[in-house]
Subunit: 508 residues, 2 copies
């Protein structure tokens, strides 16, 4: 449909590739893992030495040390060595990197998840000459780095330093300190949230620097918002929007994620609720950056996503057939019809607002009536007046997901919806979010309804709990009641620095 434009967008995206900012970080401690059923995921970290106790000494034939960087690092481990005596055998070094104590403690060969084991971070280095610095060629995401040498019987090995050449497209110099009215927990959430966001800002926004290291549209929506209020790297958002636009299929549908590629990025998974919100992300971008020309160039892409989504309506109502991926949340058994319906309405609202912002109202002439019709149909189908909640599915499931998206879609008058949301926050017998992604949607919608205090309290309770449990960055998956929860069959494959978990846009 847009093929010529797509090639142009691909070139524009390429031209916006950021220069990454490097910072060399040194390890701060030598540690070991200890089993402790009282701590999160059953493993804690115990410092056993300072790096200075290990560095600059002759190490034994066989040794293993775990270095703690004291913070989350995304980058290239840099190991400085000196070899004493003739280098008469190769130097063989096993390396393991981990985001969390549990991952660090686990033998990777016991991994039993259903994503590729290849995401677990390990390396085997064999050097034939006595290089003084080994810089790993692959980028890793970690706080802990384990080095192991087995059976070196020849020259003496001296470790001089253990560092990480960290990389990010985020410029910390533009960050304002958080005001005095915030307490220690707020400061921690702010700092950890910014670290999470910065760690995910690479050559594009990534969902997580350990896994999938990939540009996902649903994550981009949240991290772009966080970015406008912090690092303000508008070009990185623009580049990502262009990458999605350039990866559209022949119908003009954009994917849920993209892979770098030439002559244009390759489409990844199609994700209904991600694609349809392209206009929402574009509007946020235009509002934040003021780049109306950019908005105008990509407006047809936004409009096209809503057209494609509307095909799924029957009698003005959305019904999820299961033939494509409608994500909404990592939550088994979640009924998605009401949320899907509301997401389409919301996308029409936002695309309409975008057209108005850009003076393109003629392109969205039918939208106001369409939105009204869908709201009415949706209200009739899913709102249960006796329960006072939107339901979904045959069992009339009441979930946060349905209420959140109905609220975004303004399916009730503002005062009623405010009351519904406040009531919902106190319910225990409803389907709660599966994780940070949907908690973030709730915080966002509470802010839209000016329920600032509720948004603030939810942020402190949900993200504050991760802080309490020792998070260095915010986690892809977090259910306080289920430490080992993983949608992938094994918690060590979870990403513990994840874009959709960054809450920084709630602080000013």
């Amino acid at each position: 449909m847009f093929y010529q434009e797509e090639l142009r967008w691909a070139r524009e995206a390429e031209a916006l590739k950021p220069h990454l900012i490097h910072e060399m970080i040194s390890t701060v401690s030598v540690v070991r893992t200890e089993e402790d059923s009282a701590v999160w995921q059953g493993w804690k970290i115990r410092p056993i030495a300072s790096p200075e106790d290990i560095f600059n000494r002759e190490l034994p034939h066989t040794w293993e040390y775990t270095f703690d960087f004291g913070r989350f690092c995304v980058g290239f481990p840099v190991l400085d060595f000196e070899f004493i005596g003739l280098f008469d055998a190769p130097f063989r070094l096993e390396i393991k990197m981990a985001e969390t104590p549990c991952e660090l403690a686990r033998d990777f060969s016991s991994y039993h998840g259903d994503l590729g084991r290849s995401w677990l971070q390990e390396a085997l280095i064999v050097e034939d000459v006595a290089v003084s610095t080994i810089r790993l060629p692959r980028r890793y995401a970690f706080r802990y780095l384990k080095l192991r040498v087995v059976g070196n019987f020849t020259y003496k090995v001296i470790l001089r330093n253990v560092r990480c050449d960290t990389v990010s497209a985020a410029d910390w110099s533009v960050i304002q300190p958080l005001g005095e009215r915030y307490d220690e927990l707020d400061h921690a959430i702010y700092r950890i949230g910014l670290t999470t966001l910065a760690s995910c800002m690479q050559e594009s926004f990534e969902d997580g620097p350990k896994r999938d290291r990939r540009l996902w549209l649903g994550d981009l929506r949240l991290q772009a918002l966080a970015n406008y209020n912090s690092f303000r790297n508008y070009n990185l958002v623009k580049r990502c929007l262009l990458m999605f636009a350039a990866a559209a299929n022949e119908e003009g549908e954009i994917p849920g994620c993209v892979y770098p590629g030439t002559p244009r990025p390759k489409a990844g998974n199609y994700t209904f609720d991600y694609s349809v919100l392209f206009g929402d992300i574009l509007l946020d971008y235009v509002n934040a950056s003021g780049d109306e020309a950019g908005g105008r160039a990509l407006f047809p892409v936004a409009r096209r996503q809503t057209e494609i989504a509307l095909r799924q309506l029957e009698n003005s109502c959305f019904h999820y057939t299961g033939n494509y991926w409608l994500f909404v949340d990592w939550k088994e058994g979640l009924e998605r019809d009401c949320a899907g319906h509301s997401i389409i309405i919301y996308s029409l609202m936002r695309t309409l607002a975008l057209a108005q912002r850009l003076g393109l109202e003629s392109e969205t002439g039918e939208y106001p009536a369409l939105i009204e019709r869908m709201r009415n149909a949706g209200y009739r189908k899913w709102f249960d007046t006796s329960l006072g909640y939107f339901t979904s599915g045959r069992n009339r499931q009441i979930s946060w997901a349905s209420q959140i998206w109905a609220a975004f879609a303004k399916m009730l008058p503002k005062a009623e919806m405010r009351e519904l949301l406040k009531r919902l926050l106190k319910e225990t017998d409803v389907v709660l979010p599966g994780g940070p992604f949907l908690y973030n949607q709730m915080v966002l919608v509470l802010e839209r309804y000016e329920l600032h205090e509720e948004a603030y309290r939810l942020t402190r309770s949900f993200w504050g709990k991760m802080v309490e449990l020792g998070a260095d960055t915010f986690w892809e998956i977090f259910d306080p009641s289920a430490p080992m929860r993983s949608p992938y069959g094994d918690p060590i494959i979870n990403s513990h620095c994840h874009a959709w978990s960054t809450p920084t846009f709630h602080f000013k």
Copy 2:
């Protein structure tokens, strides 16, 4: 002593660095190891499929195949892949390479030798993009290559080819086929010997392409001789001689091995019986190549080694103090005095012959008398007239080592020595060689005494046994009665392609 010359020799050596010849070799079979106490080292190889049965098909999530190249390879494994579907996780590949079935079958983590485990050949590859070819950056020496993929749950993997980009400084096009008068075993010994030699011909001669991958003077002496009669790469020998000369210490003593380095190569282990034979190697080189200018340039180095060796004499007899390394053979309990004495005499004889060849007799005026004096003293000290053999040590040990070197040194008249050698070959109650290095010295000395039939028979019996046991190349360590023998504590660290084991110079 020679420091300015050393820098010049280092530059000359650098200028003679060979252009390696590449040949791409493909795997011929898919195999597995099977335990079998009836075979050498307890493991045999069973073909289970042809590569075509594995290639060009979608492989399962987890797979492991061992590829047999049907011949020994020294080079860079090249693996051709195709990935079907989105490359949405890194590709993680474990690789193991082995020279022998026993090494292939062993779990490397059970290694218990006293050389570095780093010599065992393994690699871990993690690719973040869907490359169609993975070429290992390190050079390996192997016949068997095992690939293992664990838990790839995403895209489909298709293996297209498994190859090795082999490298050698040996040019096979100059090799003459062995004449018709030789039988099948001779042809096998010839072919395997040449493969062994070619595999060890890299940027310098190496002792073994798996281990130590290094230029050793004792190995060079044997492989240079083999080379003159086969690949005739005179420049590679010259380059190696220059590297040794350039690595001499401030006394002018050259080491037993060298490491590449700038501004000059670095000295490795000092090995008495290696260094002292520099003149012998140089004479062989001048005779083979006709490069008298090169011989003249390096003559002072040869002469200096004999001077240094003579310091170890007392009353014209050598006594091994144990304060330095006198190798002679990998044989525990070997008494080395008589052999060491004879090696010095032989070095004087050969350096004298070199001087005569080059018209430098004035440099070796004292040599004839010195040789005569040492022969007489040695004869008196070590020859036992009643036993009819040279003995060594307090227990009057009779060894092949003592007789071989006494023969090189012409410690008896020719006829008597011929008779001694023939008699020795039939003895069972003497100290036999520890391995191929000393067997090779025996074959050489038998040839010098024109005992061609005996040399031929010994070659067929010793090297023929390796052929019978399935050797692809000749082994560093071989004792037919002790399959698991290793001077390093674990046979999987032994080099199974070793310069000092090449016997090709016995065939014309």
